[in-house]
């Protein structure tokens, strides 16, 4: 019963909006009609590409499981280490605070401070599902430009953090 209430809760806002729109149309309330026209444009825009994007994401998930890459992560240094953490980050999803537990795993596997911070940078802006949505909404050019400008800065931040921590004891704590 509780579960049912929980799952129907998320429809409340939607139901209220639809009711208000129906009333606006019945009563000839112009602002409600205009807001609905805007909404229907956004909705068509969304439904025309997001479902296809999720097909791609789902397929990606089964063909390139992140667990496989995670197994290869560890003390690699230099370019290889940087590429591996960036690839791992690209396969993730979710908000930045979801990356901290993975940073802890990387730390226990012997990854350097530099690569841990490069991972966080790549996680925040190179995740493949997010890049897909970004291309859909802001265009391929914007996405490419933003990604290519961000990448060297994230790597630089990794090096800066390593330099900052050079004579300090760095540890990632389990929370």
């Amino acid at each position: 019963m509780n579960k049912k209430i929980e799952s129907s809760k998320k429809y409340v806002w939607l139901a209220m909006y639809l009711a208000a729109t129906a009333i606006s149309f019945a009563a000839g309330f112009e602002p409600g009609k205009i807001a609905y026209t805007n909404f229907s444009e956004y909705f068509i825009e969304m439904i025309s590409f997001i479902p296809f994007l999720f097909i791609i994401i789902g397929l990606f998930d089964v063909w390139f499981p992140k667990e496989k890459i995670e197994a290869h992560i560890g003390r690699q240094s230099g370019i290889t280490g940087i590429i591996v953490v960036i690839l791992l980050a690209m396969l993730q999803a979710g908000p930045l605070y979801g990356a901290f537990p993975v940073a802890y795993i990387l730390y226990t596997k012997g990854a350097s401070a530099r690569n841990i911070f490069i991972y966080l940078g790549a996680f925040s802006s190179l995740k493949i599902p997010m890049l897909g949505i970004e291309i859909g909404y802001l265009g391929l050019k914007f996405t490419l430009v933003r990604t290519l400008v961000s990448l060297p800065l994230f790597i630089a931040i990794g090096f800066l953090m390593e330099w900052y921590l050079r004579d300090k004891k760095f540890a990632v704590n389990k929370v």
Binding site: I55, I56, V62
Partner: protein, 160 residues
């Protein structure tokens, strides 16, 4: 937008066929996974579209282009960076917001800065981050990323 939709349609169809030829079972599993992920975000996504359509009706275009447009200068840039740092908006929701801001006259610099701070700087999540890395390290990381986001915004705006 129509062109983009076609890219996604063809890419997903092509990849599904390719994957199906390679491995039938894996493909079905992937499609199922994709469907459930879509199902999970569908209602929250529609709710955000409702909210955007209401807010954009209430906020006139002139206000957005004045405060976040190409002529908004350092004020627009800084306010985008601060709002992006403080708010905690899920990524997939921030893209339709960003697209509607651009269509209402906001500049690429402002939007790229907002998006980047949103993803990389976390004021609300700072206590959690400090537990993992320690206060000083978390503070340094956030400050570095804040300035990196401004640089990213300026360069993206200049290149677009």
């Amino acid at each position: 937008m129509v062109n983009n939709a076609f890219i996604f349609m063809f890419a997903s169809l092509g990849l599904t066929l390719f994957s199906f030829v390679l491995d039938k079972k894996k493909t079905l599993k992937g499609l199922k996974k994709g469907f459930f992920m879509f199902k999970n975000i569908f209602v929250p996504f529609v709710n955000i579209l409702i909210l955007i359509s209401l807010v954009l009706y209430l906020v006139p275009v002139e206000i957005i282009s004045n405060y976040l447009g190409p002529d908004s200068g350092p004020t627009g840039l800084l306010s985008a960076a601060l709002v992006g740092s403080i708010t905690l908006i899920p990524g997939f929701i921030s893209y339709p917001i960003a697209a509607s801001l651009i269509s209402q006259g906001a500049s690429y610099t402002v939007v790229a800065t907002f998006m980047t701070t949103l993803m990389m700087v976390g004021v609300v999540t700072f206590p959690l981050e400090a537990k993992y890395f320690g206060r000083r390290v978390a503070l340094v990381r956030n400050i570095l990323n804040f300035f990196a986001a401004i640089v990213i915004g300026l360069v993206v705006g200049w290149l677009m």
